[in-house]
Amino acid sequence: MALDEVKIGGLGASRRRVEDNRFIRGKGNYVDDIVLPGMLHMEILRSPLAHAEIKSIDTSAAYAIPGVRMVMTGEMMAARNLAWMPTLSYDTQAVLATDKVRFQGQEVCCVIADDPYIAKDGCEAIVVDYEPLPPIVNPMQAREDGAPVIRDDKVGQDNNVIFDWEVGDKDGTDKAFAEADLVSEISMHYPRSHPSPIESCGSIADYDRSTSKLTVYMTSQAPHIVRAAVSLVAEIPEHMIRIVSPDLGGGFGNKVPVYPGYVMSILASILLERPVKWIEDKSGNLISTGFGRDVYLKGQLAVRNDGKILGVRMHTDSDHGAFFSDAQPSKFKIGLMHAAFACYDVPHAHLTAQGVYTNKAPGGVAYRCSFRITEAMFFQERMVQAAADDLGMDQAEFRRMNLVKDDDFPKRTPFGFLTDSGQYEKCLQLGLDAIGYDDFKKQKEEAKARGRLLGIGISTMTEPLGAGNSREYDILGIKMFDSAELRVHMTGKAILRTGAKTQGQGHETTWAQIVAHELGIPAEDIIVEEGDTDTAPFGMGTYASRSTPVAGAAVSMVSRKIRAKARKIAAHLLEVSDEDIDWELGRFYVRGAQDRGVTIQECAMAAYSNVPDGMEPGLDNTAYYDPPNLTWPFACYIATVEVDPETGVWDVLRLVAVDDCGVRINPMIVEGQIMGGLTEAYAMASMQFITFDEDGNCVGGNYMDYLLPTAWETPGFELHEVVTPCPHHPIGAKGIGECATVGGPAAFVNAVMDALKGTGARNIDMPLLPDRVYEALQTGKDIFGHPPVKTDS
């Protein structure tokens, strides 16, 4: 009898998570929970200034404190050729500053001491003499004639421009615009934000002189990339480096890069021959590590009077801070910005992009998104709403008219990606029905007559998830495939390891479900392990929603390899030829004689005790999976809001989400991911941003200033699903962890702007703080939110 797939915890089972057993008991194992014998503690002294020359550093008072073991400076790093390290975007980044500091929060010294309190004392005792330089806090300033050159350390860099990049069909787009009835134009800033996992970054480096082996426990979403980077930077042979990424307290892209703190702890451990622990405080995390967004858009849509979009023009200016350390596929300078308008049938599109250095923290990580796709989809959906409004057309109708139709797949996107499947209109309609679109529009008009401001906002988008295929997607030349290794023990239990690294996504639960689906081994009989480079196969890690599309596919493929071998064993046990064997979940049987069969567990036992002549014993294998294409989940998010005209405060009335992420491995976990994403979307739309004052001081450097929504502010969410299986993924799944963060913000902003329709204001930059909304209501003008923020004087 075939097994009941849901009962064994296979595909579609809302299986309760196995990792929860330790987390709910407080037995998680995060970096800061690890204690090694003889361990020392490191603390970083950061620059208080955004831009300054370092005149001198006096560490003598720090050394005088009992318990301080070492103070490291940029000079010491430079003597070992470690003052600078390569970034993931072919740039360099200072590990410890030597000549200048280039952003507030930059690493200047570090102190290693017997305990973390003494290390902090040591930092306070260091005297650094700075000569302030004029800071640059936005791209406009960076491009000004005579602006100070921030990266004067780089030979040939005589301005602040990092790249000029373009993609698309300029001539065709120009022609489309010439033929348009109307050109709708809108400019905006997607503000700098920070992924801000509750757990900050940290590491424990443990160099063992006797074996020459370096073990680093650290907060990394991509431990194998770190191993390669450490090997190249520190010139330690790769086989002598073991990176262990234990439980991570969230990541959201923030824990992809290699940060100076990790490198310092490694060098300190080598020099002192003791384990050295570095645990970053929250402020250090917020002001120095990988941020997201900070992109300015000038967007134009060429439309016909009947609503058809003829062409798209986008220009982006992006602020990358002092070092170009974006974590993204190397071929694309502004991430996957050019996936904009992928869900719409747009014949011509052209994008130009310029990136600049400023005196702000470096980064540009894929903050819960696939490499700048959050900006792309936000811009797209704001442009779409603006164009619908300019045409005087209903926003839902305008979308419906331009969305790619079901039978148009496979379809080239305006910038040349290939989308392969989807039911866009169905998702949109489901969302409209769920929210009661027509009723709400009536309600809105009635409310308006009574002086109340209601608004409804739609966001429809498809997101390219699961880099790569390796033809196009690499980081520093390393192809973006992923891996899984499965060992089935003789009793039919198994251990699975992958090159991904869970940070809350629940891999320990869901990967076992994929194996259960492929092999019929109950999910509870499979243990999943990730994050240890000595044991896990090489993979590119978890970010940009690539786990299920790539590593998850590898889990399927390795299971199928195991099944292929088990089939031969089954034929041997059943004394028939391979071709006469059929498979049902968990069991092979003789074709035509279903009662004559062997279970996968019996095959496993035979693999160790009774293999056919000439067959290698054992039942394990490894698969490396290079996806043929990205996966393209689709989503429709619709928000309704009420704006208080007296205060500018807005409340979310309802949020309806329709997600099509293909086949759902574990529906409970999928829904959890969507709700988490929607909350970050709401956060960015309403309160969460990192801004700077004119002097380059970070104005969001702790949780008192960097506002994250609590359970009290966060609205409730209504979730719906459509399932269009991904045609090329082994189990038809697509990425889902980030769709809501990507598509969500535009739904909230479009809703508020819909409430303000008729005032004259067409855009308010996020976050839509009450004072900004109030000012827009009062003035009828667009509100720009970019730094420098106004200061009282």
Binding site: R16, R17, E19, D20, N21, R22, F23, I24, R25, G26, K27, G28, Y30, D32, D33, V35, P66, G67, D114, Y117, S196, P197, I198, E199, S200, D247, L248, G249, G250, G251, F252, D281, K282, S283, Q503, G504, Q505, G506, M668, I669, E671, G672, Q673, M675, G676, G677, L678, T679, E680, N702, Y703, M704, L708, T710, A711, W712, T714, G716, F717
Partner: protein, 183 residues
């Protein structure tokens, strides 16, 4: 603390910083330590008593990952000195379950998928316990308000709220049948 020996530094490292003896009840067990006055309660629990379920997230009393119960009241242990706990009772996440049985709040978090990365979870559960100890039948709004000192970046709170309501229901036990009759 019983050990055959305690290593002391070769020179008097912190001679100018006096230490103070604190004695407190942690999860029902009396524990004592000599601490510097500036040592935070969170660090005494984590580094001193090896109770690493209490996490430190933000250092500024905002995120609530370090929430413990202090004489039954939820406090953020990153913003309390260890010496302030002298003579008091502290309960951490490790005190929720018995060796054989989970607390209903723990069961609720697992059953309702109220956690993802798990980092905020101990603090969330301690705040939830303080709420349910005082109010066994809270509304959704009351749960949201009681948890508003605890930040979560993964879940969007909806399932956390459901988890707490699930636990409340379980802790109340079956409703008396009479209540539903007669309407």
């Amino acid at each position: 603390m019983t050990s055959l020996f305690e290593e002391v530094p070769p020179t008097a490292v912190s001679s100018d910083i006096p230490t103070t003896r604190v004695e407190l009840k942690v999860n029902g067990e009396t524990r004592a330590a000599n601490v510097e006055p500036r040592l935070l309660l969170a660090h005494l629990l984590r580094s001193g008593f090896k109770l690493t379920g209490t996490h430190t997230g933000c250092d500024t009393t905002n995120c609530g990952a370090c929430t413990v119960l202090y004489d039954g009241q939820p406090v953020k242990s990153c913003t309390m000195f260890a010496v302030q706990a002298n003579g008091h009772e502290v309960m951490t996440v490790e005190g929720l379950a018995t060796s054989s049985e989970l607390h209903p709040i723990q069961e609720g978090f697992k059953d309702e998928h109220g956690l993802q990365c798990g980092f905020c979870t101990p603090g969330m559960m301690m705040s939830a316990k303080a709420l349910l100890d005082e109010n066994p039948n809270p509304t959704e709004d009351e749960v949201r308000w009681a948890l508003s000192g605890n930040l979560c970046r993964c879940t969007g709170y909806q399932n956390i709220v459901k988890a707490v309501l699930w636990a409340a229901e379980k802790m109340r036990g079956p409703e008396p049948a009479a209540e539903t009759e007669g309407e």
